[in-house]
Symmetry: C2
Subunit: 204 residues, 2 copies
Protein backbone atom coordinates (compact mmCIF):
# COMPACT_ATOMS: atom_id res chain seq x y z
CA UNK A 1 0.00 0.00 0.00
CA UNK A 2 1.17 3.52 -0.68
CA UNK A 3 2.17 6.21 1.74
CA UNK A 4 -0.31 7.36 4.33
CA UNK A 5 -3.10 9.57 3.16
CA UNK A 6 -2.19 12.39 5.50
CA UNK A 7 1.28 12.50 3.99
CA UNK A 8 -0.09 13.79 0.72
CA UNK A 9 -2.24 16.28 2.57
CA UNK A 10 0.76 17.55 4.48
CA UNK A 11 2.77 17.87 1.27
CA UNK A 12 -0.07 19.77 -0.34
CA UNK A 13 -0.12 22.16 2.58
CA UNK A 14 3.64 22.60 2.31
CA UNK A 15 3.34 23.45 -1.39
CA UNK A 16 0.57 25.91 -0.60
CA UNK A 17 2.63 27.71 2.03
CA UNK A 18 5.68 27.77 -0.23
CA UNK A 19 3.57 29.16 -3.06
CA UNK A 20 2.35 31.96 -0.81
CA UNK A 21 5.91 32.96 -0.01
CA UNK A 22 7.14 32.79 -3.60
CA UNK A 23 4.10 34.56 -5.04
CA UNK A 24 4.35 37.38 -2.52
CA UNK A 25 8.07 37.74 -3.11
CA UNK A 26 8.14 37.59 -6.89
CA UNK A 27 4.57 38.24 -7.95
CA UNK A 28 2.28 35.69 -9.57
CA UNK A 29 3.48 36.01 -13.15
CA UNK A 30 7.18 35.93 -12.34
CA UNK A 31 6.92 32.98 -9.95
CA UNK A 32 7.65 29.71 -11.71
CA UNK A 33 6.01 26.48 -10.66
CA UNK A 34 9.51 25.00 -10.40
CA UNK A 35 10.49 27.75 -7.96
CA UNK A 36 7.42 27.08 -5.83
CA UNK A 37 8.18 23.38 -5.67
CA UNK A 38 11.83 24.05 -4.90
CA UNK A 39 10.79 26.35 -2.06
CA UNK A 40 8.71 23.45 -0.76
CA UNK A 41 11.73 21.17 -1.01
CA UNK A 42 10.34 19.22 -3.95
CA UNK A 43 10.68 19.08 -7.72
CA UNK A 44 8.11 19.94 -10.34
CA UNK A 45 7.02 16.34 -10.90
CA UNK A 46 4.40 16.04 -8.23
CA UNK A 47 2.81 19.41 -8.67
CA UNK A 48 -0.06 18.44 -10.92
CA UNK A 49 -1.02 15.65 -8.58
CA UNK A 50 -1.92 18.34 -6.06
CA UNK A 51 -3.22 21.26 -8.14
CA UNK A 52 -4.75 21.29 -11.60
CA UNK A 53 -2.88 24.41 -12.69
CA UNK A 54 -0.73 27.28 -11.52
CA UNK A 55 -3.74 29.57 -11.52
CA UNK A 56 -5.73 27.17 -9.34
CA UNK A 57 -2.83 27.22 -6.91
CA UNK A 58 -2.99 31.02 -6.93
CA UNK A 59 -6.69 30.97 -6.13
CA UNK A 60 -6.03 28.57 -3.27
CA UNK A 61 -3.32 30.85 -1.90
CA UNK A 62 -5.66 33.83 -2.07
CA UNK A 63 -8.38 31.85 -0.35
CA UNK A 64 -6.39 30.58 2.59
CA UNK A 65 -3.00 32.18 3.04
CA UNK A 66 -3.77 35.35 4.98
CA UNK A 67 -1.85 35.72 8.21
CA UNK A 68 -3.90 38.74 9.23
CA UNK A 69 -7.18 36.86 9.00
CA UNK A 70 -5.66 33.95 10.89
CA UNK A 71 -4.47 36.23 13.65
CA UNK A 72 -7.80 37.98 13.93
CA UNK A 73 -9.61 34.66 13.95
CA UNK A 74 -7.40 33.49 16.80
CA UNK A 75 -8.64 36.15 19.23
CA UNK A 76 -10.16 34.52 22.29
CA UNK A 77 -10.99 37.18 24.84
CA UNK A 78 -13.52 36.81 27.61
CA UNK A 79 -14.42 40.49 27.82
CA UNK A 80 -15.36 42.95 25.11
CA UNK A 81 -12.55 45.20 26.24
CA UNK A 82 -10.02 42.40 25.90
CA UNK A 83 -11.32 41.63 22.45
CA UNK A 84 -10.91 45.25 21.43
CA UNK A 85 -7.42 45.33 22.87
CA UNK A 86 -6.40 42.20 20.96
CA UNK A 87 -7.82 43.57 17.73
CA UNK A 88 -5.95 46.83 18.21
CA UNK A 89 -2.72 45.00 18.90
CA UNK A 90 -3.01 42.81 15.80
CA UNK A 91 -3.78 45.75 13.51
CA UNK A 92 -1.12 47.86 15.19
CA UNK A 93 1.51 45.17 14.64
CA UNK A 94 0.35 44.71 11.09
CA UNK A 95 0.95 48.38 10.33
CA UNK A 96 4.03 48.79 12.52
CA UNK A 97 6.95 50.29 10.61
CA UNK A 98 9.31 47.62 11.88
CA UNK A 99 7.00 44.94 10.65
CA UNK A 100 7.26 46.14 7.11
CA UNK A 101 10.08 43.74 6.28
CA UNK A 102 8.19 40.63 7.28
CA UNK A 103 4.98 42.11 5.92
CA UNK A 104 6.48 42.82 2.55
CA UNK A 105 6.78 39.10 2.10
CA UNK A 106 4.10 38.28 4.57
CA UNK A 107 0.84 40.00 3.67
CA UNK A 108 -0.97 38.47 0.72
CA UNK A 109 -3.46 41.32 0.55
CA UNK A 110 -0.72 43.90 0.16
CA UNK A 111 1.47 41.82 -2.13
CA UNK A 112 -1.05 40.04 -4.36
CA UNK A 113 -4.20 42.13 -4.71
CA UNK A 114 -3.03 43.78 -7.92
CA UNK A 115 -2.15 40.37 -9.37
CA UNK A 116 -5.48 38.97 -8.20
CA UNK A 117 -7.27 41.73 -10.11
CA UNK A 118 -5.72 40.39 -13.31
CA UNK A 119 -6.67 36.79 -12.65
CA UNK A 120 -9.52 34.72 -13.98
CA UNK A 121 -12.95 34.39 -12.36
CA UNK A 122 -11.81 31.75 -9.89
CA UNK A 123 -8.95 33.92 -8.70
CA UNK A 124 -11.16 36.99 -8.38
CA UNK A 125 -13.77 35.03 -6.49
CA UNK A 126 -11.20 33.65 -4.05
CA UNK A 127 -9.80 37.11 -3.40
CA UNK A 128 -13.27 38.54 -2.91
CA UNK A 129 -14.25 35.90 -0.39
CA UNK A 130 -11.04 36.45 1.56
CA UNK A 131 -11.57 40.20 1.64
CA UNK A 132 -15.11 39.70 2.83
CA UNK A 133 -13.86 37.38 5.54
CA UNK A 134 -11.37 40.04 6.61
CA UNK A 135 -14.16 42.59 6.84
CA UNK A 136 -16.23 40.14 8.84
CA UNK A 137 -13.35 39.57 11.25
CA UNK A 138 -13.06 43.32 11.75
CA UNK A 139 -16.75 43.61 12.52
CA UNK A 140 -16.95 40.49 14.64
CA UNK A 141 -17.36 40.39 18.41
CA UNK A 142 -16.78 37.51 20.82
CA UNK A 143 -20.50 36.80 20.59
CA UNK A 144 -20.76 36.55 16.79
CA UNK A 145 -18.88 34.77 14.06
CA UNK A 146 -17.81 36.20 10.73
CA UNK A 147 -20.98 35.40 8.84
CA UNK A 148 -23.25 36.65 11.59
CA UNK A 149 -21.23 39.84 11.87
CA UNK A 150 -21.54 40.46 8.14
CA UNK A 151 -25.23 39.67 8.11
CA UNK A 152 -26.04 41.80 11.11
CA UNK A 153 -23.93 44.87 10.34
CA UNK A 154 -25.51 47.78 8.55
CA UNK A 155 -24.30 48.47 5.05
CA UNK A 156 -22.67 51.56 6.46
CA UNK A 157 -20.66 49.70 9.09
CA UNK A 158 -19.59 47.11 6.54
CA UNK A 159 -18.40 49.89 4.27
CA UNK A 160 -16.45 51.48 7.10
CA UNK A 161 -14.71 48.20 7.86
CA UNK A 162 -13.91 47.73 4.18
CA UNK A 163 -12.57 51.25 4.03
CA UNK A 164 -10.37 50.57 7.02
CA UNK A 165 -9.00 47.44 5.35
CA UNK A 166 -8.40 49.27 2.07
CA UNK A 167 -6.61 52.09 3.87
CA UNK A 168 -4.29 49.66 5.58
CA UNK A 169 -3.65 47.68 2.41
CA UNK A 170 -2.97 50.88 0.49
CA UNK A 171 -0.41 52.02 3.00
CA UNK A 172 1.33 48.64 2.98
CA UNK A 173 1.43 48.55 -0.82
CA UNK A 174 2.82 52.05 -1.00
CA UNK A 175 5.27 51.56 1.85
CA UNK A 176 6.64 48.42 0.23
CA UNK A 177 7.56 50.40 -2.88
CA UNK A 178 9.37 53.24 -1.13
CA UNK A 179 11.30 53.53 2.04
CA UNK A 180 12.05 57.16 2.64
CA UNK A 181 11.16 59.21 5.66
CA UNK A 182 8.04 60.64 4.06
CA UNK A 183 6.48 57.22 3.82
CA UNK A 184 7.62 56.27 7.29
CA UNK A 185 5.79 59.23 8.75
CA UNK A 186 2.77 58.68 6.55
CA UNK A 187 2.65 55.08 7.69
CA UNK A 188 2.63 56.15 11.32
CA UNK A 189 -0.22 58.57 10.62
CA UNK A 190 -2.20 55.89 8.81
CA UNK A 191 -1.57 53.43 11.60
CA UNK A 192 -3.00 55.85 14.14
CA UNK A 193 -5.98 56.56 11.91
CA UNK A 194 -6.70 52.87 11.39
CA UNK A 195 -6.56 52.21 15.13
CA UNK A 196 -8.98 55.06 15.69
CA UNK A 197 -11.28 53.65 13.03
CA UNK A 198 -11.28 50.20 14.60
CA UNK A 199 -12.11 51.71 17.98
CA UNK A 200 -15.08 53.53 16.53
CA UNK A 201 -16.15 50.39 14.71
CA UNK A 202 -15.97 48.11 17.72
CA UNK A 203 -17.57 50.61 20.05
CA UNK A 204 -20.76 50.88 18.01
Amino acid sequence: MPLSAEHKERTRARILAAAGRVFRRQGYAAAAVDAVMAEAGLTRGGFYAHFPSKEALFAEVLAHDHGLIRMLAARRARSSAGWRRQTRRILGDWLAPDHLGPVREGCSFAALTADAARGGPEVRRAWGLAFERLVGELLRTPATDVDQALAMASSERRALAAQLAANAIGMLVVAAAGEDGLLRTAQAVTRAAVLEQIDRLLAS
Copy 2:
Protein backbone atom coordinates in the same frame (compact mmCIF):
# COMPACT_ATOMS: atom_id res chain seq x y z
CA MET B 1 19.99 61.83 -44.55
CA PRO B 2 17.73 59.82 -42.29
CA LEU B 3 14.27 60.58 -41.05
CA SER B 4 13.71 63.70 -39.02
CA ALA B 5 14.97 63.72 -35.47
CA GLU B 6 11.57 64.44 -33.97
CA HIS B 7 10.20 61.37 -35.66
CA LYS B 8 12.22 59.12 -33.41
CA GLU B 9 11.19 61.15 -30.41
CA ARG B 10 7.55 60.78 -31.33
CA THR B 11 7.97 57.03 -31.81
CA ARG B 12 9.64 56.78 -28.42
CA ALA B 13 6.73 58.58 -26.83
CA ARG B 14 4.32 56.24 -28.58
CA ILE B 15 6.17 53.20 -27.25
CA LEU B 16 6.15 54.71 -23.77
CA ALA B 17 2.41 55.31 -23.83
CA ALA B 18 1.78 51.84 -25.22
CA ALA B 19 3.98 50.33 -22.52
CA GLY B 20 1.97 52.12 -19.85
CA ARG B 21 -1.24 50.63 -21.15
CA VAL B 22 0.14 47.11 -21.54
CA PHE B 23 1.92 47.14 -18.18
CA ARG B 24 -1.17 48.35 -16.36
CA ARG B 25 -3.35 45.81 -18.10
CA GLN B 26 -1.13 42.73 -17.79
CA GLY B 27 1.36 43.62 -15.10
CA TYR B 28 5.08 44.16 -15.66
CA ALA B 29 6.20 40.54 -15.61
CA ALA B 30 3.45 39.24 -17.89
CA ALA B 31 3.82 42.03 -20.43
CA ALA B 32 6.09 41.02 -23.28
CA VAL B 33 8.22 43.54 -25.14
CA ASP B 34 6.69 42.25 -28.34
CA ALA B 35 3.22 43.02 -26.98
CA VAL B 36 4.26 46.55 -26.06
CA MET B 37 5.66 47.18 -29.51
CA ALA B 38 2.58 45.68 -31.14
CA GLU B 39 0.39 47.98 -29.04
CA ALA B 40 2.47 50.86 -30.39
CA GLY B 41 1.93 49.59 -33.93
CA LEU B 42 5.53 48.46 -34.35
CA THR B 43 7.54 45.25 -34.19
CA ARG B 44 10.18 44.29 -31.68
CA GLY B 45 13.08 45.33 -33.90
CA GLY B 46 13.36 48.95 -32.99
CA PHE B 47 12.81 48.61 -29.29
CA TYR B 48 16.42 48.55 -28.17
CA ALA B 49 17.16 51.64 -30.20
CA HIS B 50 14.85 53.50 -27.81
CA PHE B 51 15.31 51.79 -24.44
CA PRO B 52 18.23 49.78 -23.10
CA SER B 53 16.04 47.15 -21.49
CA LYS B 54 12.51 46.24 -20.53
CA GLU B 55 13.17 47.29 -16.95
CA ALA B 56 14.45 50.69 -18.05
CA LEU B 57 11.22 51.11 -19.97
CA PHE B 58 9.32 50.24 -16.80
CA ALA B 59 11.21 52.88 -14.84
CA GLU B 60 10.43 55.44 -17.52
CA VAL B 61 6.73 54.54 -17.39
CA LEU B 62 6.73 54.93 -13.63
CA ALA B 63 8.50 58.24 -13.90
CA HIS B 64 6.24 59.89 -16.43
CA ASP B 65 3.00 58.03 -17.14
CA HIS B 66 0.70 59.26 -14.38
CA GLY B 67 -2.53 60.76 -15.58
CA LEU B 68 -3.41 61.95 -12.10
CA ILE B 69 -0.23 63.98 -11.74
CA ARG B 70 -0.72 65.40 -15.20
CA MET B 71 -4.26 66.45 -14.38
CA LEU B 72 -3.24 68.04 -11.10
CA ALA B 73 -0.37 69.81 -12.77
CA ALA B 74 -2.76 71.23 -15.35
CA ARG B 75 -4.77 73.22 -12.78
CA ARG B 76 -4.73 76.90 -13.63
CA ALA B 77 -7.03 78.78 -11.32
CA ARG B 78 -6.88 82.47 -10.54
CA SER B 79 -8.34 82.21 -7.07
CA SER B 80 -7.51 79.93 -4.19
CA ALA B 81 -11.10 78.79 -4.11
CA GLY B 82 -11.03 77.85 -7.76
CA TRP B 83 -7.82 75.93 -7.22
CA ARG B 84 -9.41 74.00 -4.40
CA ARG B 85 -12.47 73.29 -6.49
CA GLN B 86 -10.35 71.96 -9.35
CA THR B 87 -8.34 69.77 -7.03
CA ARG B 88 -11.51 68.35 -5.52
CA ARG B 89 -12.98 67.65 -8.91
CA ILE B 90 -9.87 65.83 -10.12
CA LEU B 91 -9.63 63.67 -7.02
CA GLY B 92 -13.37 63.10 -7.01
CA ASP B 93 -13.30 61.92 -10.63
CA TRP B 94 -10.31 59.77 -9.88
CA LEU B 95 -12.20 57.93 -7.16
CA ALA B 96 -15.60 57.98 -8.85
CA PRO B 97 -17.14 54.51 -9.02
CA ASP B 98 -17.98 54.94 -12.70
CA HIS B 99 -14.41 55.83 -13.44
CA LEU B 100 -13.17 52.51 -12.15
CA GLY B 101 -13.23 50.94 -15.57
CA PRO B 102 -10.95 53.50 -17.17
CA VAL B 103 -8.93 53.73 -14.00
CA ARG B 104 -8.34 50.03 -13.85
CA GLU B 105 -6.27 50.41 -16.96
CA GLY B 106 -5.52 54.04 -16.41
CA CYS B 107 -3.89 54.60 -13.05
CA SER B 108 -0.27 53.55 -12.87
CA PHE B 109 -0.11 54.04 -9.12
CA ALA B 110 -2.97 51.65 -8.54
CA ALA B 111 -1.93 49.13 -11.17
CA LEU B 112 1.86 49.10 -10.90
CA THR B 113 2.94 49.99 -7.36
CA ALA B 114 3.17 46.35 -6.28
CA ASP B 115 5.25 45.55 -9.35
CA ALA B 116 7.42 48.60 -8.74
CA ALA B 117 8.16 47.34 -5.24
CA ARG B 118 9.72 44.23 -6.79
CA GLY B 119 11.84 46.16 -9.26
CA GLY B 120 15.48 47.12 -9.18
CA PRO B 121 16.88 50.32 -7.69
CA GLU B 122 16.16 52.37 -10.80
CA VAL B 123 12.54 51.28 -10.82
CA ARG B 124 12.11 51.95 -7.13
CA ARG B 125 13.69 55.36 -7.45
CA ALA B 126 11.43 56.31 -10.36
CA TRP B 127 8.35 55.24 -8.43
CA GLY B 128 9.49 57.13 -5.35
CA LEU B 129 10.07 60.33 -7.27
CA ALA B 130 6.66 60.09 -8.91
CA PHE B 131 4.96 59.52 -5.57
CA GLU B 132 6.77 62.50 -4.13
CA ARG B 133 5.66 64.60 -7.06
CA LEU B 134 2.09 63.49 -6.45
CA VAL B 135 2.37 64.53 -2.82
CA GLY B 136 3.82 67.85 -3.90
CA GLU B 137 0.95 68.42 -6.30
CA LEU B 138 -1.52 67.75 -3.50
CA LEU B 139 0.21 70.28 -1.26
CA ARG B 140 0.77 72.85 -3.95
CA THR B 141 -1.06 76.14 -4.29
CA PRO B 142 -1.28 78.51 -7.28
CA ALA B 143 1.58 80.44 -5.71
CA THR B 144 4.03 77.58 -5.25
CA ASP B 145 5.35 74.80 -7.45
CA VAL B 146 5.84 71.18 -6.47
CA ASP B 147 9.33 71.52 -5.05
CA GLN B 148 8.52 74.65 -3.10
CA ALA B 149 5.41 73.04 -1.70
CA LEU B 150 7.38 70.02 -0.54
CA ALA B 151 10.14 72.13 0.93
CA MET B 152 7.82 74.49 2.75
CA ALA B 153 5.31 72.00 4.12
CA SER B 154 5.78 70.67 7.62
CA SER B 155 6.64 67.02 7.95
CA GLU B 156 3.16 66.54 9.34
CA ARG B 157 1.39 68.06 6.35
CA ARG B 158 3.56 66.08 3.98
CA ALA B 159 2.63 62.92 5.84
CA LEU B 160 -1.05 63.80 5.66
CA ALA B 161 -0.83 64.29 1.92
CA ALA B 162 1.01 60.99 1.54
CA GLN B 163 -1.62 59.30 3.68
CA LEU B 164 -4.35 60.72 1.48
CA ALA B 165 -2.59 59.41 -1.62
CA ALA B 166 -2.08 55.99 -0.06
CA ASN B 167 -5.72 55.80 0.98
CA ALA B 168 -6.86 56.58 -2.53
CA ILE B 169 -4.42 54.14 -4.09
CA GLY B 170 -5.44 51.44 -1.64
CA MET B 171 -9.09 51.84 -2.48
CA LEU B 172 -8.36 51.72 -6.22
CA VAL B 173 -6.22 48.60 -5.86
CA VAL B 174 -8.87 46.87 -3.78
CA ALA B 175 -11.76 48.00 -5.95
CA ALA B 176 -10.01 46.72 -9.06
CA ALA B 177 -9.88 43.23 -7.59
CA GLY B 178 -13.51 42.98 -6.53
CA GLU B 179 -16.71 44.46 -7.80
CA ASP B 180 -19.43 43.66 -5.35
CA GLY B 181 -21.70 46.10 -3.57
CA LEU B 182 -19.57 46.10 -0.43
CA LEU B 183 -16.64 47.58 -2.30
CA ARG B 184 -18.84 50.03 -4.16
CA THR B 185 -20.10 51.45 -0.90
CA ALA B 186 -16.63 51.42 0.65
CA GLN B 187 -15.30 53.28 -2.35
CA ALA B 188 -17.92 55.96 -1.93
CA VAL B 189 -17.01 56.31 1.73
CA THR B 190 -13.32 56.55 0.93
CA ARG B 191 -14.01 59.09 -1.79
CA ALA B 192 -15.84 61.31 0.66
CA ALA B 193 -13.06 60.92 3.22
CA VAL B 194 -10.36 61.78 0.70
CA LEU B 195 -12.23 64.90 -0.40
CA GLU B 196 -12.55 65.93 3.21
CA GLN B 197 -8.83 65.35 3.73
CA ILE B 198 -7.91 67.45 0.74
CA ASP B 199 -10.12 70.27 1.99
CA ARG B 200 -8.39 70.22 5.34
CA LEU B 201 -5.02 70.08 3.66
CA LEU B 202 -5.63 72.98 1.31
CA ALA B 203 -7.27 75.12 3.94
CA SER B 204 -4.23 75.12 6.22
